[in-house]
Symmetry: C2
Subunit: 445 residues, 2 copies
């Protein structure tokens, strides 16, 4: 690293500009940065990130460092194994077996086999290939505001982003389940309405001469804005898909590993068992590892004609990192803590809402919370611009947060699982300031 | 790790059986293991791998540990950065810029932008999406014995494996360039014959109403068996594709990073400049990192309607590992050493061939060498079964090697780049033994 660069102060706009120009020259235009004034992070610890200026930020966004940035137990496991051996799954190694055992033990009976890749995209790719092989069908049903990854086939089912890539005819969408506004605001009828949409999707496929291979959802509908879905919604939807011969793929990349507090997996919180579950981001606390968990019949159908190899997937170092993450989750009881801290934070947010009309709804579970910002409490008009302002103001106030949802009006709280009550209090304080300022600015308009 | 397991002797068939059964139960049937008697590797250093029994193996196969298993400089870089920070490219970080600069400096002018992913599959996925966006076309031209990865779209262009997944109509194949047998054994006409196949492929696409988006090849045709391609072959082929509006994607996952000795990249050894280059395996010496290198116009065409984010791609730890790999390559002059050791090994192999009629041909460059085994020197009938025997016998003799090619009759020599002359001598000795035994066994038939 060049000394001039590493001493760069982020507050110096010329130096920031130099860094941004260098980035655009070397990495091109297709990447995005967070925040109007991008953050130049140089170190991290627990829930804290530090920029080149020495400024400390509370990380309320990143779920990849699941047990905290640079957790010493995970770092130690990575270093120890990287010093010893890092190969692949075409040799025998015990760590991958130990991890597969620990991981599948976390699943209901029948979901007892794990296969490994490096990213959530790759896990969803494998799930898609498994589902197609098992069903002999190609149809994919997804919600219309989903994120599942960045490869060609997965970008096709990632409906949240605009793309010039024409969606193939095997992909059909169902409306985003939004319990707060739109089609489904009447909760009594919502589950049946959703189910009817699944039926329509299957009929649309049939009109194209296709059958469903799978219905895939993020089981807390992260990108859809963490809607409160009515009880039985997912079970009803899955039953319809299964009746038509399709599988249910639970994308646990965001909700998984205890984040929801109530359950270790999102599908469990919905009371439905998937045919295939995929997981990624938090597994290795930042070390690239992802997995597919499924049953022998699903794998055997694929294996009739294909096999699978992923060079880095399930490597000894990846598994050492992932085992350490499971250890920390268990030793520190992070699932229970996520529930407790999440409830505490939610109560604080409700208090905040009594004084701030921008807050239309507070949703989510454990340490995965969405704050739906509205321009008007009655019309529930999404406060999209205000959300952007709040996100950027919070960054100035030392809190890194993001936004989500089909109107991008939902503040997304998804911190490392070691997030404490005092972290929650700091967030509430800064959030109060940012939202009050945003509201005041609106009032002045 | 359970003590009983970690003390397991590989020579104990009961314990090996237990491990195999445990693996099948936990990881299913879709994975393959190397060798009739799988190896249970527990540690590695340089070109050496050690099994649970303490047996030492010369690693002649693995290109992922490019600068040697557990190279201390790379491990140290990983540990240091993992202790400090591991986030993503939506914050500014200098390591990704420093690496992008070092990497693109290794490319010809115009190939000056790097984008990052985790695996070769993901790099090829991104390349495919870029090529489709740039050309507005969908046709993909590949050889008929290619390996490019494991996702849905990349498995479609991975023609070496049987699969039940019907190849989409946008994919057309050209015959594997084999200079040693078959269609192209007459070298004088080979380049024109190959070019004609490309023309036919483009016409096939046209008949389907499609245009070529890209022609993608591993630039040393690794999986095709490292054929000696005639001078100008690739240039002629690429010219035809470009005339039809398609791009040329150089898959450098195997040949890249100096392995060929003569050049840092395979495309340079073929005297042709790609529109997009992809790379993976050796980049991080086992830490998952891959990249696409291309030009601004290609990225900008994609960026008109899409953006790209890969959670772990280009992370600070990945870039620290990759920078350390480049440092070691440069400090130890590994490209020049690959050429020198590769030439020394090739001479030794030629000597071996004078005494062993199984050796039909010796091909490749630097530390990427193929030994084409034949049943008969005149007919050049591929010695497929004998190759399998030799691979398994070498494993017993303490040498880990693999095979490749459309007839799976080519011993594939692709060791870590720190492979020395004395390593080469050991390989020659053991190879001599294994091939003599294999030949003798054949003679007795």
């Amino acid at each position: 690293m060049k000394p001039a660069m590493s001493n760069m102060k982020q507050t110096d706009p010329d130096r920031l500009q130099t860094l941004l120009q260098r980035r655009q020259r070397l990495m091109g235009n297709a990447y995005r940065l967070f925040y109007e004034q991008p953050v130049h992070i140089v170190s991290g610890k627990g829930v804290w990130l530090y920029d080149s200026d020495g400024t400390k930020y509370l990380d309320v966004y990143n779920n990849v460092p699941h047990v905290g940035h640079c957790h010493p137990q995970v770092v130690e496991a990575i270093c120890k194994q990287a010093h010893t051996l890092n190969t692949h799954t075409r040799y025998l190694h015990e760590l991958v077996l130990e991890y597969a055992e620990r991981l599948t033990n976390r699943f209901p009976d029948g979901l007892d086999i794990a296969m490994f890749a490096c990213t959530g995209t790759e896990a969803n790719e494998l799930a898609l290939r498994l589902a197609r092989a098992k069903t002999g069908a190609s149809g994919m049903i997804v919600t219309d505001n989903a994120y599942h990854g960045n490869s060609w086939a997965i970008a096709q089912i990632t409906t949240t982003y605009e793309t010039s890539e024409k969606r193939a005819e095997n992909i059909v969408t169902v409306p985003t389940p939004d319990s707060f506004r739109g089609l489904y605001a009447d909760e009594d009828q919502a589950a049946d309405k959703y189910a009817a949409h699944l039926q329509t999707a299957i009929e649309t496929l049939a009109q194209r001469g296709l059958r469903p291979a799978a219905f895939i959802v993020d089981t807390i509908f992260s990108n859809e804005g963490l809607p409160k879905v009515p009880e039985g919604y997912l079970a009803k939807a899955v039953a319809i898909v299964r009746k038509a011969g399709g599988l249910f793929i639970a994308d646990e990349v965001q909700p998984g590993f205890g984040r929801l507090g109530t359950d270790f997996w999102g599908f469990a919180s919905q009371g439905v068992k998937p045919d295939i579950a995929t997981m990624g981001k938090p597994m290795g606390n930042g070390y690239p590892i992802s997995a597919v968990v499924t049953s022998a019949p699903v794998i055997d159908a694929f294996h009739k004609h294909s096999h699978y190899f992923n060079t880095f997937g399930g490597s000894p170092v990846a598994c050492a990192a992932a085992l350490a993450v499971l250890d920390v989750i268990e030793q520190q009881d992070l699932q229970a803590k996520a529930l407790e801290t999440g409830n505490y934070l939610t109560e604080g947010l409700k208090d905040l809402a009594t004084n701030n009309t921008l807050i239309g709804d507070i949703r989510g579970s454990g340490l995965f919370i969405g704050i739906d910002l509205v321009r008007d409490q009655t019309s529930r008009e999404p406060a999209t611009a205000e959300t952007g302002k709040a996100v950027n103001r919070l960054r100035q106030l030392g809190v890194l947060i993001g936004s989500t949802g089909q109107y991008d009006n939902i503040l997304k709280i998804r911190p490392p699982m070691v997030f404490s009550k005092s972290n929650a209090e700091l967030l509430l304080e800064k959030l109060g300031t940012a939202l009050n300022e945003t509201r005041s600015a609106n009032d002045r308009l």
